[in-house]
Symmetry: C2
Subunit: 329 residues, 2 copies
């Protein structure tokens, strides 16, 4: 936590001048190439922070929501949370001999990920429940933290928390420096993201919205614990995203950032509000430095959003053309 | 919103010295009599904010949660949200001729509140669902705001938002001035509290946790709306409070404030964490200036908490003895 204090404090001081966008805004986005995407971001921030402007938005209403997978960090060759699930299945297998003959566990334990996930998202549910439920929230947090400390991305060999997008880290900091409150609104598990979102993105647990399971408060040996249940109370994807926003934030964002059709309704809800609004889609166009995929991808499919962007006024960022750097150095 | 900027901004500036409790702390709590309650509050805040103290807590972890009914505003002769429900039932009655013969609507429309609510909380459910569901979140917000603008408390004749406790308003501001993030965690409806919590308490919608109904995102005439459903996703009372805290905040508070046995588990969860913790119960002891009730009350019953407070180290505030003023002048 202490490491977060300094930038947070700097942001507070910078907020002292939050009636107008901080000067040299462009310098806070050094990994963005000059172009329409960067210009649009800066123009939006300047008009909503300029005192007396018809587009001025009070600080309390400067809410910005970010998808996580594919928007703030990478999501190929599959959602990073699935690597966590797979590693946990392997670790828990000795306690579950029945998994050897029970699908999708059996395929996964043989290393046959394709078959295990062949049925799509429906096949994931038993895997996620088997690895996420029954633990207390504190045990689960330790499981996530412990896994992240050693797990490496299969292609780059880097820790998953280093597979974040440098230009987006700059954008988060730039918005916060201009009085915005930044939230994650992701289809990923809320308890999976919270343990590292503060250190990685500067986003505290209370500003993380994600798919959520049931919880139960109980006493164990006289000590209170909160236990994760094998039930789902929010599927924070597609039309679940505006629902998650309303439940957790309680007001409509003025800016939203996504990358796939899972973010369509979040962008639609955000940009159809009154006053100045901003919607942005990160388009994965860089096969050399990251991955290139959109309409045909099973992970992070972007089809409807790509067609709608122009009419809706959403900015489409080309990772290849708009970003100088992809990952932090 | 603009009216909130000034105190919020002042708090930000004061935070610049947040490594130690702000000086003359006592002056920020002028409606509190000198005594054990006030001393305990100040001593706790000073030790968790003192840099280098073994009890020091980083700003990001300074989470304080407040019950609403009976803790921040009054709750007699019945929860204020029920006055809203009753007024809405009356207003909606012409569209629902069947209510004339259907309980609990029929009793309520005859003015017989006692019979309508005789079955306790179970009897409330159809009333709450009939008045809270089917509207969009924006329509519901307008209904709450419109009602508050004219509704008056039956005993004092004051608007309900003036039936708040002056010493608690000071406490909220004092904690925020010392780097705390203040949350409401109430059994009351989340969408019922959000429209006025920011103006009344300085608590923004994203820091309001309450009982929550299902929500659905849909398009109406091409415009996106979020519709309230007749289902319950969180009963934010008793053991539902730590669940609400985990869902919305994602970390354990270090201080919690309540007044009834509905707050027991929130206080238990908060004060059983490691490090410095603080629990406080507002005890309604002032029949002359407010109401006096505890173990036998149907509303805001305080029995188990009164017995447990000493052993748990929770401070019990006597409204009669500890508070100079009850309501704002």
């Amino acid at each position: 936590m202490k490491t977060m204090l300094k930038p947070a404090f700097a942001a507070l001081l910078i907020r002292a001048s939050f009636t107008t966008a901080i000067s040299h805004a462009a310098d806070l986005l050094p990994s963005w190439n000059e172009g329409q995407a960067k210009q649009s971001i800066v123009a939006f921030v300047e008009k909503v922070t300029k005192s007396g402007s018809p587009d001025f938005v009070p600080v309390a209403e400067r809410i910005a929501t970010f998808d996580n997978d594919g928007t703030l960090w990478a999501e190929q060759p599959m959602y990073f949370q699935l690597f966590f699930v797979m590693d946990r299945i392997k670790a828990l297998a000795p306690q579950h001999p029945e998994w050897k003959t029970k699908e999708p566990f059996a395929s996964l334990l043989r290393g046959d990920v394709k078959t295990a996930l062949a049925s799509g998202e429906a096949g994931l549910v038993p895997l996620v429940l088997a690895t996420h439920a029954s633990l207390t929230t504190e045990e689960f947090e330790q499981a996530v933290t412990g896994w992240l400390a050693t797990a490496k991305h299969p292609k780059t060999g880097r820790p998953f928390t280093e597979m974040v997008y440098q230009p987006m880290l700059e954008l988060l900091a730039y918005l916060r420096a201009n009085g915005f409150k930044t939230f994650i609104v992701s289809g990923g598990g809320i308890e999976f993201m919270r343990p590292w979102a503060e250190k990685t993105y500067g986003i505290p647990p209370e500003q993380v919205v994600g798919s959520s399971g049931g919880l139960k408060y109980e006493l164990r040996d006289g000590q209170p614990v909160i236990v994760k249940l094998p039930s789902i109370v929010l599927n924070d994807d597609k039309d679940g995203k505006p629902v998650g926003i309303q439940r957790h934030i309680g007001r409509r964002p003025i800016a939203a950032f996504g990358n796939s059709d899972g973010d369509f309704q979040m962008l639609e809800w955000t940009t159809s509000g009154k006053g100045a609004r901003f919607g942005l889609i990160v388009h994965h166009t860089d096969a050399a430095r990251e991955w290139a995929y959109d309409r045909q991808s099973h992970i992070g499919r972007l089809d409807k959003g790509l067609d709608a962007a122009k009419a809706k006024g959403w900015i489409v960022v080309s990772m290849k053309d708009d970003w100088k750097t992809i990952f932090p150095k």
